[in-house]
């Protein structure tokens, strides 16, 4: 394991200490607990937005706390959920009477804890909490049948949900309205990823799986969950075509649609490669007459030092577009 770390047990807390040192103007913590991260710029009367999840995905989750996006984030160990109590502490801190919206990924540990926190917030603190769960990885499961639970994993597309909900809250919409916008964003985003190498959880010290010297896995999840297929690594254009085929057919995105596109590096993949991918996405979408409103390219949701990338599409309407365009300032995302 080649990492610049000290004791693996201290990995998350030392990372957090560094984060507070670097961004004192934007973030702080509550409850005397480094893992209860909240905005340093609380806006009174606004709906609070909280997220949370395991570490190892920076800039996700905590990196989107700041102005115009999220208000709080509970931080777990690497790839492990934070606790309901930590979520509750944040909920109390960021509520200013308008209620709190939880936005998080579709993972059991997170769901159980956020549900518990929501119950405690209601039961113990009389804070109204609503939740929106992002689950948009088309490789992780089929679409949910009507009335059935969505079993898809939430991955990089959650960035779009944060952005839209954050801007809506910032515009002082009420909890139901903010939730409706988050829900709309979540329903209109689809993602798929590809992994080239595994990553190593510091306390484990060895890769969770192996990939052959010339192998890739299309559809792999950000904790190494099994994807759609393994095969020899292919040219970038071919990989992008396969991924976009699946993504586009799923919603489906159709001729005349307008989308925002997120090209997301998983950790070790260079920006060069991400732009090579961007170029091909633009080709494919132009051919299908799907209009791109804006590209976001870079590391938005990583899986430690995994090599690979994901593509997310968000179908826009005027409302989502307005919220996507709104300014934001967080440690990892600044938009004028």
């Amino acid at each position: 394991m080649k990492k610049i770390i000290n004791q693996p047990e201290n990995y998350v807390n030392e990372m957090l200490e560094g984060l507070y040192i670097a961004h004192p103007d934007l973030i702080t913590y509550t409850n005397n607990d480094l893992r209860c991260l909240v905005t340093a710029n609380k806006k009174e009367g606004k709906v609070g937005i909280a997220t949370g999840g395991g570490s190892g995905h920076l800039p996700l989750f905590l990196g989107y706390v700041g102005k115009g996006m999220l208000d709080g984030c509970s931080v777990g160990d690497v790839f492990q959920s934070p606790s309901a109590e930590q979520m509750l502490a944040i909920t109390k801190e960021i509520d200013s009477g308008a209620g709190v919206l939880y936005i998080y990924g579709n993972y059991n540990g997170d769901i159980f804890n956020f549900d518990m926190a929501a119950e405690m917030a209601d039961f113990e603190e009389d804070i109204r909490v609503e939740s929106v769960v992002a689950g948009e990885d088309v490789a992780s499961a089929g679409p949910a049948a009507p009335g059935e639970k969505n079993t898809r994993r939430g991955v990089a597309g959650i960035f779009f949900v944060y952005k839209c909900a954050g801007a809506a809250a910032d515009a002082m919409l009420d909890l139901d309205q903010v939730k409706a916008i988050a829900q709309k964003a979540a329903e209109n985003v689809r993602t798929m990823g590809v992994a080239l190498t595994p990553c190593i959880v510091p306390r484990v010290g060895k890769p969770g799986f192996e990939l052959g010297e010339d192998e890739m896995e299309i559809g792999m999840g950000i904790h190494g969950e099994t994807g759609i297929r393994r095969g020899r690594i292919e040219p970038a254009d071919q990989i992008v075509e396969e991924m976009l085929d699946k993504i586009i057919a799923d919603l489906p995105y159709v001729e005349g649609d307008e989308v925002d596109v997120l090209v997301n590096g998983l950790g070790a993949t260079t920006l060069d490669e991400q732009y090579i991918v961007t170029r091909k996405i633009n080709d494919v979408l132009s051919q299908k007459r799907i209009h791109v409103h804006k590209y976001y390219v870079g590391e938005y949701v990583t899986s430690l030092e995994m090599a690979g990338f994901s593509i997310s599409l968000l179908k826009l309407d005027d409302e989502l577009k307005k919220y996507m365009e709104a300014p934001a300032q967080t440690p990892f995302f600044v938009q004028l």
Binding site: Q80, S83, A84, Q86, M116
Partner: protein, 208 residues
């Protein structure tokens, strides 16, 4: 019964889970990520530590607080589910300062509901519930049939163990094991093993 019997139950759960750390790790290593021995050992330790000083006077509050302590200590899948069970049991027994035999039925029914509500699993999904459910039936019919609590607990523990063994007839639909589909069938469910240990802890907490 005094509510100290609840403290003894949690003490016994702490001891038994920690005696079975390696056993649970081994079970979970086959189908999951192998952390179950650590999370159950640490989780029930935290639950017991929270109540061991004996200052609780409300049975419901005792269980609720124990559950919260567990959830804070081990926010993993089973950690949160067990915490939800304890907290729900706490809500059900709220206000009681002593326990009848029948209250143990209420306790485990609520525990079951807490886990089921939190995890949305159904009987037969190859989870903790498939260990607890037969135990609950056994407990209920033994007590309603007039047997002593000690005998009822012992029958419940045996039923939980049977339920655990019986998970090899099921396909996992939740958590990491679910990704294996049909291949998960032949494997025993680690969560159901926790149910068996929990009922064993109940049984042994009555034998002083």
């Amino acid at each position: 019964m005094e509510i100290v019997s609840l403290v003894r139950f949690l003490e016994s759960a702490d001891r038994i889970m920690n005696e079975n750390r390696e056993y649970l790790i081994t079970l979970d290593s086959v189908v999951g990520d192998g952390d179950l021995g650590l999370t159950m050992g640490d989780g029930f330790r935290a639950a017991y530590m929270c109540v061991k000083d004996g200052t609780h006077t409300d049975a419901g509050k005792l269980l609720y607080d124990a559950g919260k302590a567990m959830s804070t200590a081990v926010p993993s899948t089973m950690g949160t589910l067990m915490a939800s069970g304890l907290m729900q049991a706490g809500k059900a027994l709220k206000g009681k300062d002593s326990l009848e035999s029948h209250d143990w039925i209420i306790l485990f029914e609520a525990y079951f509901d807490g886990v089921a509500n939190r995890g949305k699993a159904k009987i037969g999904d190859k989870t903790f519930l498939d260990g607890l459910h037969p135990a609950l039936d056994a407990l209920r019919s033994a007590i309603e049939g007039g047997k002593t609590l000690e005998i009822a607990a012992s029958e419940a523990a045996r039923a939980a163990e049977d339920g655990f063994e019986n998970t090899t007839t099921m396909i996992a639909v939740h958590g990491r094991a679910a990704t294996r589909g049909e291949a998960s069938r032949s494997l025993k469910d680690p969560g159901a093993a926790v149910a068996a240990l929990l009922m064993k802890a109940f049984e042994s907490s009555l034998v002083i």
